[in-house]
Symmetry: C4
Subunit: 194 residues, 4 copies
Amino acid sequence: MTFEEAADALVAVGQAFHARGWAPATSGNYSARIDDGRIAITVSGAHKGRMTRGDIMLLDAGDPRRPSAETALHLAVYRAFPEVRSVLHSHAAISVGLGRASGDDWTIAGHELLKALPGIDTHDTSVAIPIVENSQDIAAIERAVMPRLGNSPAFMIRGHGMYGWGRSIAEAERVIEALEWLAEAELAERRFRA
Amino acid sequence: MTFEEAADALVAVGQAFHARGWAPATSGNYSARIDDGRIAITVSGAHKGRMTRGDIMLLDAGDPRRPSAETALHLAVYRAFPEVRSVLHSHAAISVGLGRASGDDWTIAGHELLKALPGIDTHDTSVAIPIVENSQDIAAIERAVMPRLGNSPAFMIRGHGMYGWGRSIAEAERVIEALEWLAEAELAERRFRA
Amino acid sequence: MTFEEAADALVAVGQAFHARGWAPATSGNYSARIDDGRIAITVSGAHKGRMTRGDIMLLDAGDPRRPSAETALHLAVYRAFPEVRSVLHSHAAISVGLGRASGDDWTIAGHELLKALPGIDTHDTSVAIPIVENSQDIAAIERAVMPRLGNSPAFMIRGHGMYGWGRSIAEAERVIEALEWLAEAELAERRFRA
Amino acid sequence: MTFEEAADALVAVGQAFHARGWAPATSGNYSARIDDGRIAITVSGAHKGRMTRGDIMLLDAGDPRRPSAETALHLAVYRAFPEVRSVLHSHAAISVGLGRASGDDWTIAGHELLKALPGIDTHDTSVAIPIVENSQDIAAIERAVMPRLGNSPAFMIRGHGMYGWGRSIAEAERVIEALEWLAEAELAERRFRA
């Protein structure tokens, strides 16, 4: 994946996420590890539904632009998982509501869509998505969440949103798409049970 | 219906279903019986909103590509109903939530939209959509659901989604569109009653 | 308004309504009174999001096509209100849920959006939208609802949907858009109060 | 910002807001302060999703067209905040439902998205959005709300909608997008807690 390929794909992710309400008010940030190992990432403050290739920057390239404050979380994921090529951060109203109403994790069980997560090949299992407290100290979030990942390809920051990743931009997008859908399904299920 | 006509129509179904959130994270699968009796079906793992004709394969044509694991369920429907020309599988958050919160079937009564289902010409009736347990053994799902269909042009797999069919791709799409809308209306009704 | 102008505008209504989920599974029907007094109306069974001018027919023109079964309700409105030029029938999950959970009418009070209804120029009022039982006998629906309209530019058929009208297609569309939005707002309000 | 630039941007706001259901039935109004200090504003009664440059007028230019009745509220914001260049009024079902179910304000706390509001750089704070009663006397709304703004870049009129502003049209749009999203997240959170 070249920088240009990564940038175009991240622009498309922004359009898709914003259209679904997962990137309100310039929130969210998306990155990819390109072929030479460097990280392409969204610049801070871009409207995610209206990005161009110029809203994606390359870290460690002397670029004077400022990447998102959460860049350190992206880097932590890339360090921990050498096979990961993309990290995406969504900001959906339903999963943020779920996160604020939940405890230390969100356990998903018995859903066919669990099979959309890497390494899972049966619905008859469960995955616990860690939920950590938000902080202005990004390093504190990193220390809190990285030891708690287990088999989860994602984590949530309370009142903030979802981070998910994969071995390609498409796989990372599939992880986010599955989890945001599962939050919607969980909400529907609870209302039908009420 | 030629293979090309079927493929183009199934690609359009994927775009429509994905846009509505009924095909998250590559989930779902769609098929059609073409003029020579063979079955055109989505390949496994395709992003349903971004398919091309190349993501549709023909069963029994020596094609090395792998169809969806649920292909056997499509074939069971075609065997049971010679007039059926299309089977579509949606994966909507609201109906999956309904299915997880319900018992052995979902009974729909008194809705004008029941008349969108083949063979029903009054709102003053009811249809029971069977809900069966999910399984990694597709044959087990088939054995559980096929004897329970009654007058239903669809069934649900718990935590997994909806299968619907018709004498054309358009009719199968109408069945799915009606049932997913009815699940939304049922949720709204329950909330207004609460 | 010529037939061609009416047909193009009704096709556009169908696209807008279907995109919002107000015309599932070919449901709904739309009409307009053209300059010579005749009624242009959607043919029965058309997919409302994919209509062309050919899916609109002219009543009393010897056209062999079949209009919607609810044509008599459109005609009743045109007879009762000589100034009305368009009648639109939407089929939205939220308002249908509201109608099934409500009694003989839906009273809307204190909403600024009431001013979108013809003849209302303050939010500080209320409008009662009549809700009548569904029936396969369209004349029975007509007899039940027409005497109950009062100042309402719309009525609901339980489990079926909303009829609204206006002195132009744009005004009828505004009535439907206002009422479907008000149903959504009412649902949100009740959930915030719960 | 010239009049033409302002008009084109406000037309785009209308398309975006209408597509999300924030501008039903011609509701809403949008304005911008152009370079010469005059105010460009939407004319009364325009369909917000289908505006052209001709639906934006310039106040104090001898234009015979009628601006929205709420123009005085826009002007009050421009007088109070010299740096403000745009005021936008949305009309979303969820936040209107929240406003009708709430008391004198809506307090938002602990959300990362608070940082989308001007002058806020931590999630660890709260903002109280004032909610005032609707009135046909716009001056009465103005007198009620302006003294109560505090650090809020927005206010709500009960049963009517949201006003938000910023130093550019983009910033005002970001404020509205953040607040409408936060209303959705608040609704989701309450339902998950129920």
